[in-house]
Chain length 362, copies 2
């Protein structure tokens, strides 16, 4: 199209807009919300996802729908974000559903569980496999509407003050780990402790913890864990995908104009892909820096993985026997997982493994 | 928040909106655009991505910015979408940049190249590793602004009328494959042919082709390729990630209100994650159906992969020596690839491989 023709069309549009179109500003309310997240500002990729989400919603509503962001502790403590959304103290929160495993173990599937879906599989299950819908039924009971909003990918297995060579070495290990991962590890004698990110470093330093897992190289480096524990293990099998969730109070959400609901849905999905892109771009160089700083990277021995795998599915079966919500989601999820694993193994993993091998030899 | 209190806030907002806020409808023009895509409607996940993109843009602009979608051939043929965007015949297109490898080989990096980044790595490179910016400089020369908008993930290696057991079997093979993959394979004696999806089936049926690759189980099944060629190979090493691109005419884009530019950017990113979620959810069951229909799934022998890997990087080096744009993107991309592969191998692949193995044994 020639520039002149385009400008002509634009001008025609302008006139048509002023005359015939509904006036958005007159029909849409100015709304101010508050979003509390579970992250300190220093964890900039997690906190930054909330920032980018709020910015996008504001942009596409021309500033009519403004959501103000608060870091962990500014309005509510990190681990009370869900309670605050549920009670309506705040309209929405950005957090990890797995933190709230104690309220209802089914929430764990909204983050990703041990030996479960990887980040891509998690999106497939949530968006196109019925996962989001089945979780909505669970969240509805507590008056919350949820949206996937970020993922950090597969995690590292944490920093340890001593080497972990056998299942025996897990016994009595005071380990910072939350939710379902902690329950599973307690079967193997680990003493799990769920504490907020800001408190991990001092606890590890003074020996109140023997080990601590948080996320991966980029964030773990920011918490400074490598300064007080030398051994850095992989993989973080309890979180092959750690998806973050935007939780919205149902009573605040329902009366929103459709336009604003669409803005929330679109912006949350956009940030879902943006967060993991940032982690995937920044983790490699952070791992390199950690290794240069003297960190010893170690792989969990196969015997430990096997023991953990067994304990994991035993735990799922026990939870399913006790909790209807968990059972319902677990059955749906388990079928998806089996089919998806088969497919990913054939194509994605096959090609990736060959590429990674050849790449390391170049 | 109590419902009453929220409604009160909403009402206050409404009043404030009517009085003090800028009237969006009066300041924003009504705009009508046309988007041509390279997909027939029958390839519903590809075509559906364009539909969902147009719908979201309309929704979040309250119907002020309407983009009308056209399937391949309705306005322009599948393989002329980029030309139509460049000339301004249409304002935007949804296509695979690799189709236009002949114009400039650097475009191939916007889709994903042989033994290159997987879908997650591609997003990391594009959004957070500088890839999108460096590609923007290339596209700018032809008056186009591009946005990643969909990905199908690692592909299958296509349907073959006979088994491929050695590098020798590739010689003289009339193979439907486009762009850079075809150039690489021609080094090994393959006769590559780039033809639009609708023409693949008849060509394979009448023997004008010995083999054809398109995407993966879900789409290949729709093209009916398994009815005329029995052997289905993996992995499709020439496209470990096939990212689709939204191409926008720069002269149409530049004068857009910022609000509409933001809507395009956000909706394209949203569809980027949505498309691959759908493929990842639907490919497993499609592969199952194909196998039930008698398709023989085969893995490319290691010797073939090794020959292809060698030919691939030789081709890149040759292209970099001849083409400045290719060289510039290649150097940037290659550094990212090496770092990213190392990281993905340590954590993601390590955990995935263990999970997939155990999952297959359950």
């Amino acid at each position: 199209m020639k520039r002149r023709r385009f400008l002509q069309q634009l001008t025609t549009g302008l006139v048509a807009g002023a005359v015939a179109s509904p006036a958005i500003a007159q029909s849409q309310p100015t709304i101010r919300w508050r979003l509390a997240c579970s992250w300190p500002k220093s964890l900039d990729l997690l906190y930054g996802t909330g920032e980018a989400f709020c910015k996008r919603v504001s942009q596409i509503t021309d500033g009519k729908f403004e959501i103000q962001l608060f870091a962990a502790g500014e309005l509510v403590p990190a681990l009370q974000v869900m309670d605050a959304v549920q009670s309506g103290t705040i309209e929405c929160g950005h957090t990890l559903a797995a933190f709230f495993f104690g309220k209802n173990p089914a929430y764990a599937f909204d983050s990703g569980v041990a030996f479960g879906l990887n980040a891509r599989q998690q999106n497939a299950w949530q968006y196109a496999g019925g996962g989001m819908e089945i979780l909505r039924e669970i969240y509805k009971k507590v008056g919350i509407v949820q949206f996937p909003c970020g993922n950090v990918g597969a995690q590292m297995g944490g920093f340890y003050r001593k080497e972990i060579n056998s299942v025996e070495d897990l016994k009595g290990l005071k380990f910072r780990i939350g939710g379902l991962g902690g329950v599973i590890l307690s079967k193997l004698g680990v003493v799990p402790q769920q504490i907020a990110p800001g408190e991990i470093y001092p606890a590890l330093e003074r020996g109140a913890l023997d080990a601590a897992e948080w996320i991966g190289p980029y964030d773990d480096e920011r918490l400074g864990l490598h300064k007080v524990a030398k051994f850095y293990y992989y993989p973080g099998w309890w979180e092959g995908s750690a998806q973050e969730t935007l939780m919205v109070n149902q009573r605040a959400y329902d009366p929103l104009p459709q336009l604003y609901k669409d803005a929330i849905e679109g912006a949350a999905a956009e940030q879902n892909v943006m967060m993991i892109a940032k982690y995937d771009a920044k983790n490699p160089e952070a791992l390199r820096r950690l290794v240069a700083a003297g960190v010893q990277v170690r792989q969990f021995p196969r015997a430990i993985l096997d023991a953990c795998y067994k304990a994991t599915f035993e735990t799922y079966d026990e939870l399913a026997a006790k909790n209807e919500d968990f059972k319902k989601v677990y059955e749906h999820w388990q079928k998806f997982l089996a089919d998806s694993n088969l497919w990913f193994r054939v194509v994605e993993a096959n090609l990736d493994n060959y590429r990674f091998l050849m790449s390391a030899q170049r």
